[in-house]
């Protein structure tokens, strides 16, 4: 029983860090929240590995730590490197801070409840509709939706990359939940793809900052119909 409470705490931690990661405009703070968020997610995989006796999950744990917690933020060309070269603060988003916070919190809680409720419609197998897979699937879809929300409402290039990472995390949780027996090569392939796409996007963002003097993606409007 204690174990289940631990898992629930992890879920709450994941969602809370996610909310702060999205609304905070100071890049460095936001990236630290992202690191915490990813670390908590990887702890969920450890919980799975330990409680459901599935050693494959340790691979997920290690790859998440390696990619999301170490490489993407700290490697040369990564998040910290990029924000050092560019501004310290995100471009003003479409919604003001208060409204944004309220909206995201609502989306996080509402999304969690909603996906929990309609699980029968989205669970591909009968087992997936039972706990703990049910909560895990609900959290995965919630993270994915929040990532999509971030992508649609923020106009900052670095935040866009973070939004893509968040969506990626949501998909990772779904993968862990639904396809625990995935081959190692597939896990590593997805990991490589994600890291490469993040680094290419960050590279483009730095070049855009050099040429346009801003990370505002709305300013990318020289090409018109």
């Amino acid at each position: 029983m204690t174990n289940e409470i631990l898992l629930e705490d992890l879920y709450v931690g994941v969602l809370l860090t996610l909310i702060f990661l999205i609304v905070i405009r100071k890049y460095r703070v936001s990236i630290w929240f992202y690191i915490t968020h990813s670390f908590l997610l990887s702890l969920i995989y450890v919980w799975y590995a330990y409680n459901l006796n599935n050693p494959m999950m340790y691979l997920w744990f290690f790859t998440t730590i390696l990619s999301q917690v170490v490489l993407i933020p700290f490697a040369p060309g990564g998040l910290f490197y990029t924000v050092k070269k560019c501004n310290a603060t995100e471009v003003r988003p479409i919604l003001p801070f208060g409204v944004s916070l309220a909206f995201i919190a609502l989306l996080a809680v509402g999304g969690w409840e909603f996906f929990h409720y309609i699980i029968a419609a989205v669970a591909p197998t009968p087992e997936a509709a039972l706990e703990p897979a049910r909560s895990n699937l609900a959290i995965a879809f919630t993270i994915f939706s929040l990532g999509l929300y971030t992508l649609l409402t923020r106009k900052d290039a670095v935040k866009t990359v973070l939004a893509l990472c968040i969506m990626g995390n949501g998909i990772d949780v779904t993968l862990v939940d639904l396809t625990p027996a995935m081959a190692e090569t597939a896990v590593l392939g997805i990991l490589t793809d994600v890291i490469l796409s993040v680094f290419i996007l960050l590279y483009l963002s730095r070049r855009i900052y050099e040429k346009f003097g801003s990370l505002d993606t709305m300013k990318l409007s020289e090409l018109k119909y």
């Binding site: 893509l164 639904l178 793809d193 855009i208």
Partner: protein, 505 residues
């Protein structure tokens, strides 16, 4: 149908991948280690794709499918056809690049050292395309599609100026977001099929047909919705189209030809492997895709009317033409799939041809603006003939290859009694014809804005017009004798249907 266990399909991927590695490591100077190796990679890959076409498409009762690595790798008729198409076009584009890139260096637009990067990425792109066509494992399939996006993003932003960076950024973000959705779809399908298929088979593309109507309906429709979002983003359907005109207009000309000729076809290939299989069981998918494709078709060609930039005009027309292919494939019937594949082949050739002619016009006239060009018919006769072959072919005029493929799609739409879609498709065909007639008459017979510059224009060098003439020749031959290509298209359509009907690999 025979199943042949062989690792030969893997060679399709291995040669270009090695070529890419060698060029990246040693391709500092011009010569064999750069241009030569990249050409060799494509040629070897082409030889193997010819071999597979022969074995999987023409062999009658001996026709087979190749599988390797516990069926994680496979190639059937459709895959072979795509591999052949990609390699032929890539070879021509590569030949065209050799002289085109030389002029870019002479003009000071790029440096000689940039070319190592260019040829590395072209070979890497070829490798990822081949991996897409031989992948049978759902996740590997996704990885290959995403990798092809990553390989081309830097090619789109090759010039590193404001415009090309903007185009590359839009291209990356739109497609990566779309493709993320399709991964979600892959995961759902995979996990839903675990209880119904034994062990490893659950994750194979070739087994989707068996479980399409067994897995829960909600999950199937949700996964298909994710697939449609993902693959239509890659294919450039509305509302994901904004990357297309930008990327096409800002990339170097050979890359534009690749984007329109090949990259958007990956979206179509993935669509045919997944959504087509489900659309046979859920008619709502047909209705939805046909509606989106019709909107896309019409808006794409209307967008083309608003363009003055020749490359943007061609890109906008690609949005419209790719919608025809999606329409054909979503129907799930033999005629629809046949028309879709035929149009896919036609569009690849015609659009590559048109982009190469656009490149030649830009090379000679030093402008992309249609209104600034004029009276070029006498100056550039070969280019003008090639342009009209491309334009009339795309518009689907009789005697040109586009006519046969579009007619098959119209027939398939009529068969399913989707009259509104048929009406929109025919209307779009007429509009396409008028757009190309306008652009062609303006460029080749119109009065130029600056007649002095236009006076000095000459036909492009042999190395640039020869690839165009070859493609134009193929297009004309197929238009006059469609029977030549029919057996290949028939086998390719059958191989999609076999999987869709749940036939074993």
């Amino acid at each position: 149908m025979k199943e042949i266990a062989s690792i030969l399909p893997f060679m399709l991927f291995l040669f270009p991948a090695s070529a890419s590695l060698i060029v990246a490591l040693f391709g500092r100077k011009k010569g064999f280690l750069r241009e030569g190796i990249s050409l060799l990679g494509v040629v070897l890959s082409l030889v193997f794709s010819c071999y597979f076409c022969n074995r999987t498409l023409f062999n009658g009762s001996e026709t087979g499918k190749f599988t390797a690595f516990y069926q994680n790798i496979f190639i059937d008729g459709f895959g072979s056809l795509m591999a052949l198409l990609v390699n032929v076009i890539l070879l021509l584009v590569l030949l065209y690049s050799f002289s085109y890139m030389k002029t870019l260096i002479a003009e000071g637009k790029i440096l000689n050292k940039n070319l190592r990067f260019y040829y590395t990425l072209i070979s890497a792109f070829n490798a990822t395309m081949m991996l897409t066509f031989i992948a049978n494992h759902l996740i590997l399939f996704f990885i290959a599609i995403e990798a092809s996006t990553l390989a081309t993003a830097q090619l789109v932003g090759f010039f590193r100026d404001k415009h090309s960076l903007e185009a590359a950024y839009k291209y990356m973000v739109l497609i990566i977001v779309g493709i993320a959705f399709s991964l979600m779809g892959c995961v759902l399908i995979y996990s839903a099929s675990v209880p119904h298929l034994t062990g490893h088979n659950a994750v194979l593309l070739s087994e989707i047909g068996r479980i399409a109507d067994i897995i829960p309906k909600n999950v199937a429709l949700l996964a298909v919705a994710f697939f449609i979002i993902g693959f239509s983003a890659k294919g450039g359907l509305i509302p994901f189209h904004p990357w297309l005109p930008d990327a096409h207009s800002e990339a170097p000309v050979p890359v534009s030809a690749l984007l329109s000729g090949l990259i958007i076809k990956i979206g179509v290939y993935a669509f045919a492997r997944t959504v087509t299989v489900f659309s046979r069981h859920y008619p709502v998918i047909i209705l939805y895709v046909a509606a989106v494709a019709c909107i896309s078709m019409l808006l794409g060609i209307l967008l083309a009317y608003a363009q003055n930039d020749l490359k943007r005009l061609l890109a906008a027309s690609s949005i419209s033409q790719i919608s025809y292919i999606f329409t054909g494939l979503c129907l799930g019937s033999y005629v629809g799939i046949y028309g879709g594949i035929f149009h896919l082949v036609n569009h690849s050739m015609l659009k590559s041809l048109l982009f190469l002619t656009a490149g030649s016009l830009m090379f000679a006239a030093k402008t992309r603006s249609i209104r600034d060009m004029g009276g070029l018919y006498k100056k550039m006769p070969i280019t003008s003939v090639c342009f009209f072959v491309g334009g009339l072919g795309i518009a689907g005029m009789p005697l040109f290859s586009g006519f046969h493929s579009k007619f098959a799609i119209f027939a398939a739409l009529g068969q399913q009694q989707l009259w509104w879609a048929l009406a929109v498709s025919v209307l779009t065909g007429v509009l396409t014809l008028s757009v190309f007639a306008w652009a062609g008459s303006r460029i080749f017979w119109g009065r130029p804005a600056d007649s002095e510059t236009m006076e000095q224009i000459k036909e492009v060098p042999f190395a640039m017009w020869a690839p165009m003439a070859i493609v134009a020749g193929i297009v004309l031959v197929i238009g006059l004798y469609p029977n030549l290509i029919y057996p290949i298209l028939d086998s390719a359509s059958q191989s999609i249907l076999t999987i869709a009907e749940g036939g074993s690999l």
